[in-house]
Structure formats: C-alpha cells, structure tokens
Symmetry: C2
C-alpha cells in the first residue's frame, strides 16, 4: 500500500480522515504514543493494540545509538524489530540532538553531537539522518531540521529557518535516491517511505508563514509544524500554529509535533491538525500524574489511600475496569513496577479515547458542541 491521505469529513477547520501507509491504515485525527527506544515504556505491544493505538513514534537519535540503525535494518526494520505490524513514524533526530544543547555544534552541513550515553562523537547531516530513517524503515519519516532554540532573535530565527528549508530539500533528494533501500521494500509491494517536511520559524508569525509556504513549494506528501512546545507561553504556540497551518494544503496531512495536554490536543484538531505526538501521557503516568474525565489526579495523594472507586468512573480501560484508586495509590507509593505499567495504560487510554471521541464528533458534525465542553487550553496545566 503506498501512502495516501483522504479527508472524510470537515467541520470548521477540523478534519476527520484516513492515512494509508505500507503497514496499515490510520484514522485521523490521531494521537501517536511515543515509543522512543522501540517500546512504549512498560507497555507490551498486545496491550497497545487493545488500546487501539494506530501508529507509534520512535526516536531516530535513540535507536541510532541503541541498538544502532544497521542492526534494526538487518532485523527487517523497526516494525519487525519490535513486533509491531502497524504504522510507525520516526523523527529525524533533529529535535533530539537540539535537546543535547552544549553537546552539539551546528553547521550548514549538519550537526556534530556527543552521545548522552557515553560521550562518543557523531554527526547527523540531512543525508545521514535520512539514511538512518531508511534503515529503521518507519512508514512516515521526518525531514532533518533545525529546531530553533527559544527565545531567539529574529535574524537568527530566519537564518535557522532558511537552513531548515535547504535541509528539507536535501532530505527529500536523499530519500528519492535511496528510497528502495528501505528494509521491507520487496515485502510490501514495492511501497516506499513517506517523507514529511517540517515548518519552522520560531516565534515569529511572518517566518512561520514563509516557512510554511516555502516548505509547501518543495512539495511533500505531508507537513509537520515543529519547534513548538519548547518553553514558550501557550497562547504563543496557538498563534504560531495558526500562522503556519493556514498555508498548508488542505489535502495533505498536518502533524503538530510534541503536543500536548488532553484539552490542547482537542483545540489543535479544531485548528486543522491531523496528527500529534507527546511524551506527556506516558511520562506523567510514570510520575503518578493521571488524566481523568474529572480532572488530573496525583495518585500518590493520601486521600486516595482508602478510595475503593475506579481511577476514572467514565473510563472503560482495563485499569479503570479492574483496580481501585487505593490499589493504584499503594503501588505508586510503594514504588512498584506495576504502578508505571497501569498508570501508562490508563493515560494512553484517556488520550486515545479523547481522540476517538473527537473524530466521531467531526464525522457526526458535532465537533463544535464537543469543543465547547473542553476547558480552554490556555488555562490548562501542561
């Protein structure tokens, strides 16, 4: 199956659609759980399937260091490696390397960086990053970009945006020349990977607009908005999404990278976003912060010690169906492994249920009503 995106319903700017990829179909809008090292921390793949996870995000930077992209290529690609016969998306490593701050040095050619594991020296160029993504073999891969730091001056942000555009072209050219090298090429009817371009432009609306327009001129099958959720106030995030998204083509999928809270993801859908990923549900779960229909819960709180009710009475996940708040509190307070497992399952269920309800509302033309019931995102705690 080659890549295709089909919009099935619209309401305002919001869209419900389907992505077709070599490893299967994805119903959008979609939330993609983060499985950095080819695992969503603590959750077996069959449980992810039960939860209705459609597509996972893996981090190229991390897999490049461990177990190495050549290793994954030899094992048939990341889907086979982690036994996940469904779509996967990889980032390009650009954002991860950006996060290393003083362990990196950026030039026109690429980024020299040191491993956070052992301090060893490495170099990512657009070409080598895409080569790594080809070896990993995700269905959707991301162009190599520079995520501009925040805050940044206008001139610096413009230069960075220009370089990201040049890197986008190089990413595209490299994939075009090497696309048949994806590990599962022969096994999937000669399908190839799909490369998304990434809009940058920091916190300047005119640069966001220009980045969107010029990235679209490069003609990608999908577009991401990157470089947000990097410490800026939330209203600014919305402003930047708005500045960029109106210049993205309506018939191509739009991926907002690295967001957000349950309330925020609903509002991003309202702005026309189709795909999102975030470590928040999984990371928060491991720290005992749980999302429920009645608000956020810090499960360690002593008031749950004797609470024999479910975590979220409106949730039908296997955690809420079986365990009490008192038990979950005990597991967390006792630092038991199962706390992290169960908390993660619930938080993912909450995000995925939210997205299913959003999609259903759009299909029924009831999204405006749905949206009106969601707390304005700028008030939410992230």
């Amino acid at each position: 199956m080659s890549f295709r995106f089909q919009v099935e319903a619209r309401e305002g700017e919001a869209r419900a659609g389907r992505l077709f990829t070599p490893h299967g179909e994805v119903q959008t809008p979609v939330f993609m759980p983060v499985g950095t090292l080819a695992t969503v921390k603590g959750v077996p793949q069959d449980t992810l399937e039960e939860l209705g996870v459609q597509v996972l995000l893996n981090n190229t930077y991390h897999l490049y260091l461990r177990p190495g992209v050549e290793m994954v290529r030899q094992l048939g690609g990341v889907q086979k490696f982690m036994s996940w016969d469904h779509p996967i998306l990889t980032d390009s490593g650009g954002f991860q390397v950006f996060s290393l701050s003083d362990l990196r040095k950026v030039t026109e050619n690429g980024v020299a960086f040191r491993s956070h594991l052992d301090g060893s020296s490495h170099f990512f160029s657009p070409e080598s990053a895409i080569a790594a993504e080809i070896s990993l073999g995700a269905d959707i891969i991301m162009a190599f970009d520079e995520c501009t730091e925040h805050p940044a001056e206008y001139a610096r942000t413009r230069d960075s945006m220009e370089m990201t555009l040049r890197w986008a072209r190089r990413s595209k050219e490299y994939l075009e020349a090497h696309k048949h090298e994806v590990p599962w090429f022969a096994g999937r009817g000669e399908s190839v990977q799909t490369l998304f371009g990434i809009v940058q432009g920091g916190m300047f609306a005119d640069l966001r607009r220009e980045s969107a327009q010029r990235t679209v001129e490069l003609d990608f099958p999908g577009y991401a908005i990157g470089g947000l959720s990097v410490g800026e106030p939330r209203p600014m995030t919305y402003e930047m999404v708005d500045a960029a998204i109106r210049f993205l083509p309506p018939d191509k999928p739009r991926y907002l990278m690295g967001v957000g809270t349950p309330e925020e993801i609903v509002h991003y859908v309202a702005m026309g976003v189709d795909m999102m990923d975030c470590v928040l549900p999984t990371r928060a779960a491991r720290h005992g912060l749980l999302f429920t229909s009645e608000g956020r819960i810090t499960i360690k709180n002593a008031r749950f010690a004797q609470d024999d009710g479910p975590l979220d009475p409106n949730c039908r996940c296997k955690v809420c169906a079986r365990y009490s708040r008192a038990y979950l509190r005990h597991l967390y307070a006792s630092n038991e492994l199962l706390a992290q497992v169960l908390n993660t399952i619930h938080n993912l269920a909450y995000y995925l249920d939210t997205m299913r309800r959003v999609r259903q509302a759009i299909l029924l033309g009831e999204f405006a009503i749905f949206l009106s019931g969601v707390r304005p995102p700028h008030l939410s705690v992230s």
Copy 2:
C-alpha cells in the same frame, strides 16, 4: 467453599491433587508466584490469569508496613484490594523478620524488629502475626515461626524448634478464637481461613523428624517445611525435606517454602511436595536471567543482539510467540521497563508450564519418565 484437599493420583511419592479454598480451586502440584506487596512485580493481574496462575503468595511483613493490614481489611481483604478473585497465601512474617537479622530481637513472646523502610519499631507475636494475616484475609495463612539461622548449633536449633512448636499452638489458638473476623467472612458462605503449621529443625535430620511429628500432633489442615534454602548446600536441603516429609500425613497438602530452580521443583514433587513458592523466576527475570527449555539465558549477552529467533522455541507464552531475542536483549540493555515486564512473564510461564507438565505426567502415570529427563537438581545453578 471451605478448605479441602483431595489427592487424585499418585506415582511414587508424587501426588496430583486439588485444593479447595474460599476463593477457588488450586490444582496441585502448584507453583505460587511471589507477589510481595500484593503485586507480582510488573505483571498485571489479567496477565497472571492468562498465564494460569492459580494462587499467589503475599508477604505479611511487607503489607503490614505498606499499606498496613487495617487498610487492607477495610478494603475487603487482599484479594479485593489487588483485584485477584482467586486464592492467596500469606506467610506469617516470621521468615521476613528473620531476614532483617540485626534489626530484630527474639523472645518467647515474639519478635521485636525495626522496619527496613523507616527504622520504626514493631513487634510480632504469634497472636499479632495471625491477627495481621486475618486482616489481610488470605485463603491460606501460615503459623508464626522462627526460621533458625544457618549455620546453627544443635542445642540452639532444638530450642528454636521447640519455640516454633509453642508458637504454632498459639497461632492456632488465636485463629480459632478470631477466625470469624476475616474480612470476607459473610461474603464467602461463612468460610474461614486455613492455617498451615511449619516444620523447622534446621539442618538436623532428627530435629526435622521430631518437628514434623510434633507439628502433626497439633493437627493442622496442611503442613509447610520451612527454614530451608537459607544458604545450605542443596544436597542438605534434600536430606532435610526427606527427613521431614515422610512424617507428614499423606492426606494433607505439603508446602515447601521458598524453592527452587525449575529442575529442583520437579524433584521436590517427586519427594511428595504439593506446593512451592520462590522469588527466583521473577527476581531472575528482572536481572535478565531467563529459564528456557534449552537452558538458562543471560539475555544481555551480545550474542543475542542479532538473534531474531524466539527466546524459547518450545515455549508458547506471549513473549516467545511475539518477540525476538534481539528485541528482548535491546530492551534489557537499554534498561527499558518492558524488559522486566516481558522477562517476568516468560519466566513465570516457564515455571507454570513445568508444573502443568509435571501434574499431567503424574495423572498419566508417566512422571518417572518425565523425571528421568530432568537434570539432577544438585547439578543445577540456583
């Protein structure tokens, strides 16, 4: 359902039977996974059910400290607390307190000890330990005993054994007077908990024999052999089991505490043992040591990095059905939570499958043949 034990088949000293408890039936011989703090570390309860776990062991000492036995009692008992509507067995805390070594002081009345968590002072007597076990509400509970340290002199061991006999009587009398206080009393047809006596006697065969005979005189519905696997050489363990077990009544269940390797548990069944528990499969799993039909595997070993075969080609557990050694190696080497989860599931599957095959062999009269294929246990690594 009140407690009952029924032997269905015998071959040599080995028996296949059924235990009936207030929370359901257990087919013996049975291996009981250890769920110290009301959780088998990293494994959700539905997965334990899928694995065919019939009965869990919880540790009274640990639950007494966290979340507290009164808390568990108010929440309906440990089965309800952990949402495990199947049999549970609790130890009395005696062995756990024994493990605290210099944090404890033993007198005729009981044991003063300090919490390993915060150093706070506590006291367990036979009466207070049984009271704790009643509050927790396990189906099978253990008499409060002194586990004699190893090595120990003869006179010291005899004194300790005598005290354990006096404590066994006190344990029994306390339960008799308070048995209706079990949290689920009304809900389970007025069934009560079943108390097992524990044979001690250190590493002296004559004391083991005397302990067995005099514990049987106290008349318990089941008998445990305790105080083994405390550092003695394995042939001595066998000698002590042999010295005791021949004096236990053939119509009562026999529980050998805290053993063993997969090979050893088969040989203990051959000696007439019906029940065993051990942290080995779960603890070893968390350290990357996996039991397979082809021997032990240290999954971290670099030779598995590119091995796309299953962990154990003869195992039908969900880990072996889905994941490769290369992936399991990657998870372990990357210190990923899922390594501990999947490794634990496999090791438990291996133990439970072993025990199912043992039981089946006894029922078919083929246990001698089965046993001849199991490596002599004194050669095995524990």
